[in-house]
């Protein structure tokens, strides 16, 4: 079997493997989602009940840490809590309210003004 043949069979094998697994050949690169933060300003809009339910579902399924953050809320030292700094910056840029999915300190997804459980849970997938 020549080198060319070997490469050919390898590519066929990878293609079959990919089809069986139902995904891409190249594994995803980048951090996994670890948090979903709904950032809002209560004076402008109230989070829909479905948003609370979606965040609760994410927490129960332990997929990510899912919280709400009312803009300008601070920690006991008067600062924006470390866990929300990245999400708050991204949400303010996108416009409030926004659901920001983060992982490894990076913003992975921003969904503006989600209104349903599916929109909240789906933002992480």
């Amino acid at each position: 079997m020549t080198t060319k043949d070997r490469i050919g069979w390898l590519l066929i094998g990878l293609a079959v493997f990919s089809l069986v697994k139902g995904g891409g050949i190249v594994p995803a690169i980048g951090p996994a989602a670890t948090a979903a933060t709904y950032v809002y300003e209560l004076r402008e809009s109230a989070p829909p009940s479905a948003v609370y339910a979606g965040l609760d579902q994410l927490n129960r399924e332990k997929k990510v840490v899912a919280n709400l953050y009312d803009d300008d809320t601070t920690d006991g030292a008067g600062e924006v809590p470390d866990q929300y700094k990245t999400a708050v910056t991204a949400a303010r840029e996108a416009g409030l309210p926004s659901l920001v999915v983060t992982g490894g300190g990076k913003v992975l997804n921003v969904v503006k003004d989600p209104k349903t459980v599916e929109a909240v849970v789906g933002a992480v997938q």
């Binding site: 009312d70 030292a77 866990q83």
Partner: protein, 297 residues
């Protein structure tokens, strides 16, 4: 949780034999303006964004039933103050705890249950001690405290976590929750004066402070706050309570009373009691919910 279910009339407009911390004289002092003043920078007018037309209250109630998003669904425990005069502080702790749990994103579908502890509470629910505020509001122990006093204290320096918690958070400073009966989810202990609080206690209390407090300008705005998942604390008939679920069918307001059970105020009481009421819209937030007092406090 079916907010439309009929309520036992024996649980509506229950007036205790004597005041348990909120005598009539205090009611007169606790005007909206007076309580607002003591909250300082935390005070907020009722935002227009929270207004719901009364004709739409039933629909919002159905939404809350479907998604378990009543304030009652963010309260994971009862407390029991019997026979103390700590009622305003027990009402305050329900308001503050519900706010934190709402921010945390954990729902307790059945609300508080006597003698029961939710597993989910371990994920960051912190039980805040009424005594940690009452001891400063009334150093004489008996006679109660008005809403103005307790809110000034809470907004200025926060509340201490109780000795009993749903998770070992490693708090450096805790205090018994009440000198009353307490229970499975509430620590009890002897009276302690402010000067005998654990040394350095303010470092921990600072992590449990109201940051935004909304003052409804009408009974309808108070109902709207409840419909949006926020506890509304009120004082009336010698007792202070945390309104936590509106029954749109019977038009009564449910509250987890500081005696291990849920009671209700009628529409007539709601209409007369809303003055001086408040809802905590946001509390200090930790950098890590597993270390609610900042990891060092």
């Amino acid at each position: 949780m079916n907010s439309f279910a009929p309520v036992d009339p024996k649980l509506i407009d229950v007036v205790l034999p004597e005041h348990d911390g909120y005598p009539v004289a205090f009611e007169a002092e606790d005007t909206t303006d007076a309580v607002r003043d003591v909250c300082g920078a935390a005070a907020r007018d009722f935002p227009k964004s929270l207004w719901i037309e009364p004709k739409d209250w039933a629909d919002k109630a159905r939404d809350n039933d479907k998604y378990h998003t009543w304030p009652m669904n963010y309260i994971d425990r009862y407390t029991n103050q019997n026979p103390t005069h700590e009622c305003t502080c027990h009402s305050l702790r329900a308001n503050a705890e519900a706010c934190r749990n709402r921010q945390l994103g954990i729902i307790y579908p059945g609300g508080p249950k006597k003698g029961f502890r939710y597993d989910e509470s371990k994920r960051g629910s912190v039980w805040l001690g009424p005594l940690s505020v009452y001891a400063e509001a009334n150093p004489r122990q008996w006679g109660g405290a008005n809403v103005r006093q307790v809110m000034e204290i809470a907004c200025r320096r926060g509340m201490l976590p109780e000795k009993i918690q749903p998770f070992e958070y490693g708090f450096k400073h805790t205090l018994q929750g009440t000198t009353g009966a307490g229970g499975l989810n509430q620590s009890k202990g002897p009276w302690v004066s402010l000067s005998n609080f654990p040394s350095g206690w303010k470092e921990t209390a600072a992590w449990f402070k109201p940051q935004e407090v909304i003052f409804p300008g009408s009974w309808e705005e108070a109902v709207c706050l409840v419909l949006h998942g926020m506890v509304v604390s009120v004082g009336r008939n010698g007792h202070a309570v945390p309104w936590s679920r509106w029954n749109a069918a019977q038009q009564v307001m449910a509250y987890p009373d500081s005696y291990d059970l849920t009671r209700y105020d009628s529409l007539r009481t709601v209409k007369s009691a809303w003055g001086g009421a408040f809802a905590i819209a946001s509390m200090t937030v930790p950098d890590d919910w597993k270390h609610p007092a900042g990891g060092t406090a």
